[in-house]
């Protein structure tokens, strides 16, 4: 029976994969219901997403913002906070990057650095607000981050009127120095795909987050607060400071994600550019088990769904991909607890 317990433990460890498999299976039912062949559709989807250099580049491009927002959610989660505000933080980050890149009188690469920093700082500030409200008044961060999402959208729309080009909903282009190079300039195989240097920034940040959480004094304190706040307090950690800092760092990660679209792709800010990447970031963190390496894999998966979904669009409706994403989230939430319960019961 010990062997059986070991098997169950394996299943629990593999629960993200099982969740994905279950979601694909459930999605297959939908595909069959509209008279298509599920296996064929899935094969097409993943072949397009990974099979060609261009497809891979597109997948990576779509995975990039999810990597940032997934890291943002995961970091906050480790400190015991549920940051539902990544969408808003991403949004203000993108706006700040566009303004800094378009208006700061800085030469060449300095402008790029400034624009990226602006994105991070704006996101950090937007994340710090609910962090401070939580630390100071104990106000629940879920409610406050949701509210701040709405405020971010409205505030940026309003402020945007002053800077948008006439008859458009986007800003003017950022300076050349702030335009992040596309990866196809270094890797010809990716030709034509908009994946750009912010992907590399995201990967570096994943490493930074991992080191921060698991190898530094600060990360230790954040995790202690997340896992047992009253023991952390006993250990001399100021819970309020830790929560505020975690939210600011989380917001910074989300804000930096704005660089992908604004600095690396369109070179301007456009209303609604974030397109739900913040919300999908929650799913990415969940599926990636709040670990940076898991987040990398999960963002890649969701990026593939997003791009592959566009391609299979001719044969199944666009909404299918959204249903599929929602199913993955649903299964990601329930699979692990269900497996754990079963493991306790049967082994």
């Amino acid at each position: 029976m010990s062997d059986r317990r070991a098997q169950w433990q394996w299943l629990v460890a593999l629960s993200p994969l099982i969740a994905v498999a279950a979601a694909l299976a459930a999605g297959a039912v939908f595909i069959a219901a509209i008279g298509e062949k599920p296996l064929e559709i899935y094969a097409l989807l993943f072949r397009e997403a990974f099979g060609t250099g261009y497809g891979l580049g597109q997948t990576l491009f779509r995975a990039t913002p999810l990597l940032f927002t997934g890291l943002a959610v995961a970091l906050a989660f480790r400190a015991g906070l549920f940051n539902v505000g990544v969408e808003g933080q991403l949004y203000v980050g993108g706006f700040a990057a566009a303004l800094a890149g378009a208006y700061l009188p800085l030469p060449g690469p300095l402008l790029g650095v400034a624009a990226v920093l602006a994105a991070g700082l704006a996101g950090a500030a937007w994340g710090a607000i609910p962090g401070a409200l939580k630390a100071r008044f104990g106000a629940h961060e879920v409610i406050n981050t949701i509210m701040l999402n709405f405020i971010a959208f409205s505030l940026v729309s309003w402020a945007g009127r002053a800077v948008f080009l006439p008859a458009t909903v986007h800003t003017r282009d950022v300076g050349l120095g702030a335009q992040l190079p596309r990866l196809d300039t270094f890797v010809p195989a990716l030709r034509g795909a908009p994946v750009n240097v912010s992907l590399l920034l995201g990967l570096v940040l994943a490493l930074v987050v991992a080191l921060l959480l698991f190898r530094t004094r600060l990360g230790y304190e954040l995790r202690a607060v997340g896992q047992n706040a009253s023991a952390a307090e006993y250990g001399g950690v100021s819970i309020g400071h830790a929560q505020m800092l975690a939210m600011a760092l989380s917001g910074a990660l989300a804000g930096l994600g704005g660089s992908n679209f604004v600095l690396g792709y369109k070179h301007y800010f456009e209303l609604g550019f974030s397109g739900g990447a913040g919300f999908i970031g929650i799913a990415v963190a969940l599926l990636g088990r709040n670990h940076p390496s898991g987040v990398i894999v999960a963002s890649l998966f969701f990026g593939a769904l997003a791009y592959g979904g566009l391609v299979v669009n001719q044969r199944v409706p666009r909404e299918l991909v959204e249903v599929l994403m929602a199913l993955v989230i649903l299964f990601a939430i329930c699979t692990r607890p269900l497996l754990e319960r079963a493991a306790r019961r049967w082994a």
């Binding site: 317990r5 004094r217 600060l218 995790r223 047992n228 006993y234 250990g235 001399g236 306790r344 019961r345």
Partner: protein
Amino acid sequence: MSTPHVTLRGITRRFGALVANDRVTLELPPGEIHALVGENGAGKSTLMKVLFGLLQPDEGEIVVDGRNVRFADPQAAMRHGLGMVHQHFMLVDTLTVAENVTLGRETQARFGLLAPGDAEREVAALAERHRLPVDPKARISQLSVGAQQRVEILKALYRGARVLILDEPTAVLTPQEVDELFAVLRALVAEGVSIVLITHKLAEVKALASRVTVLRGGKVAGSAMVADTSIERMAELMVGHVPAPLTERSHRAPGAPLLEVQGLEVRDARHLPAVRDVSFAVRSGEIVGIAGVEGNGQHELIECLAGLCPPARGAVRIAGVAVSGHSAREHRAAGLAHIPSDRLHRGLVPDMSLAENLVLGLQRRPDIGTGPWLGGHTLEDASRARLQEYDVRPPDPRAFAGRLSGGNQQKLIAARELTQGAKAILAAHPTRGVDLGAIDFIHRRLLAERDAGRAVLLVSSELSEILALSDRILVLYEGRIVHETTPAATDERTLGLHMTGRASHTDAPLPPRNGTPHASGGLA
């Protein structure tokens, strides 16, 4: 429902390579108290979790009234009349007593609505019948540990438990509460209920149980009728030898005061004064014991001295540094170590490794880690020797603290707080839930710290512990220090009188509030 006859036969349960229970057999006839004893990590809690359906056995069977059963979960065990009060309580803090007791079994009024009044009346009646006094309307967070335990017992009885498993129920109780609990248990047994009692106190086994089973390293080391055995024999079976009594302690004059408290007032969660105008000093090379019935301000005093709640009035100095009103971090930086009374709530992060838990509170110290870095192999390597020395089992730096047995968690905290070179040590119930050998070890370590010139403030509900370790004893009653004495000048009975405010003031005049001459002056 009549009490079933329960037998555990050849139970084996493994955790990875570790065999927590090794072919254990245990007999529970109706109307008997069966004591289960053994060292920390011997497998007592594991065995009872198997019986209660919380863990599945790898081998062996559970037989109820002659029939083989399998408990997939606690609900199944409850259906067979089993109930369990865990080592660490499982109550919902924010709910009332009545809500906790009836949780999952709410009596419904019409239209599926809850009828809180009914539940409260029902619980009150049950409490009355079993003489387990609690206020059904009180919230769990407001209750003393003893009262929370009564709620746990009521919860089991409400679900119709006829076989009651109590995992170290007396570890957290005051001597008076222990007497009350035993009276309740005897009454239950008289009604035919059978009880499994896990304890580290062999005197309790003698006083209450009719049968005893000793576990050692997961195996049954022996089982006997209590009448046919002795405390010495049981201790020998548990640890393989009888621990030697505490060595003669050295006498040395205490040095400078390292923990000074002046005119301290601390409010409790409801903003009522819990500690009133308390002044004392603990000097280098001195252990000062605080005796008192639980709930007379000890908890608030310790939390305040640790920097976990600001005082309403008064001053605290650690090694000469004024720290009152400052953060816990500053208290630690001034040289304070603290064994908290609630190990799971305060003392540990269950989901962190042993190595990580060994630096809780020290995570900012320059001599631990380098620069901003902390963690990884260096932390693990640094912790191995201490885990060995304090006999934390398993001594695996990577194991999660939450997986340790209760006593081993306590040893882990002692290993952290008694080895950090602090100047002053707050030790609240330092040996709660640890076995005889570990009690002895922690006592020796506390005395060694004292001899090394630390100031130790000891809070314990065990008067024997206070008497054995302290150089001076302060009695706390209703938040005030009402008596000061030395172990040589008093005994348990006299202390008991002072602790309950019954000592007549004419033949035992109150000492001055300032514990020592050193305490006065200089504290603003």
